[in-house]
């Protein structure tokens, strides 16, 4: 076990817990920046695999962080990374849940919601760019990503179907 790595995992992910606005997708660029570019804990390729596997698995996509923690420092790493990314925001939410009924619909909450929306959108779009740049698929990755984006916006096709087709297209063009 590497206590220094556990501490580093905690310090990387805990602050992000409270800054993940607009859902787990919005922090992916930052995970990549820290885990791959800064600490060199895992390779660009493994990061992309982790992303792919976390989308294949059931449950919240942010379990990606659990997987990264596991690869960095084994089971203790998985536990520490999960606690760091999930606990702070959960405590905040639990505290707010108790008083929420009183404040719901107030103007300042509308301001928070509307004010954070463009930041969240910028973060989510950044995640796509970061992952595309990490991808080894070259132009094909861009085409498949663009195709899947369009299919999901324009049709009611299931995300699972889109992912399956993506895998098949890559296999067919090997």
């Amino acid at each position: 076990m590497r206590p220094d790595r556990l501490l580093a995992l905690l310090l990387v992910f805990a602050p992000l817990s409270l800054l993940t606005i607009g859902g787990g997708q919005s922090a992916i660029s930052e995970y990549h920046r820290q885990v791959v570019a800064q600490y060199h804990w895992i390779s660009e390729q493994l990061f992309l695999y982790d992303f792919a596997i976390s989308r294949l698995a059931p449950g919240p996509g942010s379990l990606l962080v659990t997987l990264i923690g596991w690869q960095v420092a084994g089971w203790p790493g998985a536990l520490v990374a999960s606690i760091a990314i999930f606990l702070p925001s959960s405590i905040l939410l639990y505290g707010l849940a108790k008083v929420w009924a009183r404040y719901h619909g107030r103007p300042f909450l509308r301001a928070i919601e509307r004010g954070l929306a463009p930041v969240a959108a910028g973060l989510i779009l950044s995640a796509s760019l970061t992952l595309l740049e990490a991808s080894r698929g070259g132009w094909l990755a861009w085409v498949v990503a663009a195709g899947s984006t369009l299919a999901l916006i324009l049709t009611r096709v299931s995300p699972f179907m889109v992912i399956g087709v993506g895998a098949l297209i890559f296999l067919a063009t090997t």
Binding site: L93, A97, G115, A141, G166
Partner: protein, 171 residues
């Protein structure tokens, strides 16, 4: 119940499904109550579905319910994910498996991009929100700046701007 949703939810659309179970099938709360909670979970930081599980647990069974909701949403899928990763890490030595995973990643990037496009459409209500959105994208996506300082600047800016617009519209 939440464990079932955690384990059977893929790639999003979870909140709509949760609403169907909680409101329409089990009748644990009204649709209005549910939507109030959903708003809470989406405004504040954290993973939306996890927030929702905590909020639902709290609403139905207090503190213990919140804890149960959070654990049910995270632990079973977390274990499945790690087992899946164990299997795949071995399998990536086969060229076709790693190729297929590259394809999965590319398609899943589209999944995220689609969410981004929808979020952008909702956020682009006026020039200044668009400026904030583009600035965030340039800082994080293109320049790869650290997220913490960028969000600590952009989030208050966005909120202040939205508050100012609300007041101006009210006046």
């Amino acid at each position: 119940m939440v464990a079932r949703i955690g384990l059977t939810s893929f790639g999003g659309g979870v909140s709509g499904w949760m609403m169907r179970v909680v409101v329409h099938e089990k009748r644990w709360m009204t649709e209005a109550e549910f939507l109030t909670g959903l708003a809470l979970c989406q405004v504040f930081p954290g993973i939306n579905v996890l927030n929702l599980a905590i909020w639902l647990g709290h609403k139905l069974h207090g503190g213990k319910g919140a804890l149960a909701g959070a654990l049910a949403m995270l632990v079973p899928p977390g274990i499945v994910l790690l087992l899946l990763a164990l299997v795949f890490t071995d399998l990536t030595q086969y060229g076709w498996v790693s190729r297929a995973l590259d394809g999965v990643a590319a398609a899943a990037i589209g999944l995220g991009a689609q969410m981004g496009v929808r979020a952008a459409q909702r956020a682009a209500t006026a020039l200044l929100p668009i400026v904030i959105m583009v600035a965030t994208f340039v800082a994080i996506g293109l320049l790869r700046w650290p997220l913490v300082p960028v969000v600590l600047v952009m989030a208050p800016l966005g909120i202040a701007l939205a508050a100012w617009r609300e007041r101006r519209n009210a006046a």
